[in-house]
């Protein structure tokens, strides 16, 4: 199938890429643009490893076609911290031992970032609901929930 040229906004930059019309947003990010921080765990929206922000809302990049990207502001894990270092949320997740194998972690960082932007003072139940779409097989979730809660507290939420 012949490729099409596509231009969109990713991590604050305007980027262009040749994509296969069948490519998902996840394939655009990972295969065409080399933004491999976003992971593929299932390819059908069940695991949340590919969560990115689309206009500020968490979205499974495996369920969105690359062709839908133009016109949206997309933020991936690479766009959160940049060269400045870690966000407070990332720092707290690291220090809490909230990442083990790390494969689900970028998706969880994105989901939690979206939660804290929308709800500065989430309860533990709010946090668990916000990351319920992100499967983690290593941690048992406890340290993740604590790190997100700590971030909210530190921000004065």
């Amino acid at each position: 199938m012949s490729r099409i040229m596509l231009t969109c906004r990713i991590n604050g930059e305007t980027v262009s890429a040749l994509v296969d019309p069948r490519d998902t947003l996840l394939e655009l990010l990972r295969e065409r643009l080399g933004l491999t921080g976003t992971k593929e765990g299932c390819g059908n929206g069940n695991c949340g490893s590919c969560t990115v922000l689309v206009d500020g809302a968490p979205v499974n990049a495996c369920l969105m076609l690359a062709q839908e990207a133009p016109g949206c502001e997309i933020t991936t894990i690479e766009g959160l911290s940049g060269a400045q270092g870690l966000t407070d949320l990332q720092q707290n997740l690291a220090e809490a031992g909230a990442t083990q194998c790390g494969f689900c972690t970028p998706g969880i960082v994105i989901s939690a970032t979206a939660l804290l932007a929308e709800n500065p003072a989430p309860t533990d139940a709010d946090i668990r609901r916000a990351i319920a779409g992100n499967l983690c097989r290593c941690t048992g979730y406890d340290k993740i929930v604590r790190a997100i809660a700590l971030t909210a507290t530190q921000r004065g939420g």
């Binding site: 390819g43 220090e95 809490a96 031992g97 990442t99 194998c101 790390g102 609901r129 048992g140 979730y141």
Partner: protein
Amino acid sequence: MALPTTKRDDHRDKPASSIGQSLVRVDARDRVTGRAMYPADMQRPNMAHARLKRSPHAHARIRAIDTSRAEALDGVFAVVTAADFAKVPLGASIPMGETGYDMWMVAQINMASGKVFWVGQPVAAVAARDSHVAEAALELIDVDYEVLTPVTDIAAAMRPDAPVLHEHVVTKGLAQAADGPSNVCSRTLIERGDAERALAQSHATASVSVLVDTAHQGYIEPQAMVAEVSADGFATVWASTQGQFSTELMISRMLDRPLSKLKVVPMEVGGAFGGKIAIHGEAVAVRLAEKCGRPVKLVFTREEVLQGGSGPTMGMAVDIRVGADASGRLSAIHGVYRVDAGGLPGLSPSLLMQASAALYQVDDLHLEGFDVVTNKPRTEAYRAPGGIQGAFAVEQAMDELCLRGGFDPLEFRRRNAAVTGSTMPIGTPFPSIGLSEILDAVAEHPCWTKALEPGVHPRGRGLALGYWRGTSMTSACHVIIGGDGRPVVTMGAVDISGTRTTMTQVAADQFGLAPQDVHVQTGDSKSVGYSDGAAGSRVARTMTAAIVEACDDALAQLGERAARLMQAEPARVTYANGVFSLDEGRGTSITLAELMQETLTDGAIVGRGSSSKLPLGVEIAAHVCDVEVDPDTGQVTILRYTAFQDVGRALNPSAIEGQLQGSVVQGIGWALTEGYDYDANGRLRNASLLDYRLPTALDVPSIDCVILEKPVPGVPYGLRGVGEAPIVPVAACVANAIARAVGVRTGRMPMTPERIVMAMRERAGRQI
């Protein structure tokens, strides 16, 4: 000539050792920023993308494979089938630990030859311009199958008239020699005394039968790999594996490729839990790369992972009978374990049988196990393989015995607990264990002492124990000292559980340096000595022993060099905290950094360490949980969960908590929702993470951990294994809580709402 021994002065003030501290993972920042590299993240110039063609049949003979149409498709670079691989005969094995590893099985998992034994077994592979083209090419590979009748459950497979999967399999271990091929590969018997007689004479008895569904390890990272073969014929494989050396041996054997022409580079591993010990496609990727002259990337889809591409772990049918005298002394354990190995034979149930009965002192014991093949994926290890299934049966039987005999479940276990020196099921004395201390800790903890408050629905509290033996095998490492005096340790073990972090703590402690002044890395299979894989709760213990040895070796070499520089006899040199000094610190001194700056060009300092046959660090856990059960829907809510475990010595308490919490949640998943659901043709009906349901953050409470430390003699720091025992008691613990809440046991795992409601209806029917 023996190297001079440099005395280590342990009395000087050290910088605070990080042993026992929750040092933040040294790789945490790479993980939270998405920079950690897994094989699927690799890009190589001119790279092709591979896909595997898999069998749609659970049991069939392959008559012929025609790849010509696929090869003709534009953008297809190479196609391979079993004909492209070395013939690996029955009985072939590669070295691994004490027993070796069944290489025939590995070959069949990677590429079926002659016959397929499950849906999803690979029969061919394609490398193409991109994954879309590769996918299209799979449809153009024509496989002519003679479809055979599948056998999809243990009971059907054991029937005398069952279709036979393997003509060469004759039941081993029978009292009388078997007279023909069978789906029962072996019978294992562990026996002492007369369990039947002891049961007949018991004051109280209980009998529990369970059927455990096949389940998957559930790592979030699907299998992924990149293979590249240089023009000079050297192959490099970037892999997500539990062992770079076993992966190398397996690839080498499947391809008849010399080990000197093959390197396995371990990347980050996105979860494994036993499912990434065997290779799944790595040899295929190398062969494709050879054939098409390009690097090849192969990444599984989730459906492939679940539908026969890797894993799962074994289902099981277990019948347990136990008895006790009037005082609550256990009189007998009688167990029959039928293990569903999946499509290929060779799964010994011996360890799981022993584990299930290990924590009780009992004179009369009969444990009988059967390794049964069915037309399902060949099962692989999963965190204490078989442990949770065995405990699901035995720990429920013990709980039922307590209910029938009127014994307090904790006191009953204290009364019968195995202790250091008591007889294990195989007849040898227990090494040092802290079960009694664990049970004492349970007795004093609020999770046990505080009464369960009533809720909207019935509530119950469960208790269960878990044991896992673990293993030691071989670990190797070396340490070099940089020009600034900072040590760099290269390990032969991959990091699947924070190993680089805990080993940084060990190496820093050995040198008396701060953790940030030490670097610990995982070596590829050509840069460090042979180590067995990361499995069996062995790496932290054995790599610690290897690092201690390597650091001693390096310090001896350094001490000799320091003596020369300070113009003194080596015997006068002592080392502590980065400083060599003479005469117990009263004389001249030189720092490690100064020493290396002065002598870097005098030759390399390489400290070597290896560990093999280290004493076992057996793992024991006790779990307590409170549940609430909605009697109308069968929905189970876990209100509280507490895991107690003796870890010998907690190198990094946060990492240990992470192992315990993650283990418990995996166990809860299998206990309540995770199970393979096959149709009559052996096709998995729930091959997605929507229908094969791992626990989400909403399904589980915060898991409380109580860490006890009873060091293991003869092991540096007294370390025990950690990562396996905490999954063992979980399903039984939840089952015992459910039984105490609503009075039923499902006899099935997972204990889905439907099964709980059915069990309650059945009981109500009986009562009418």
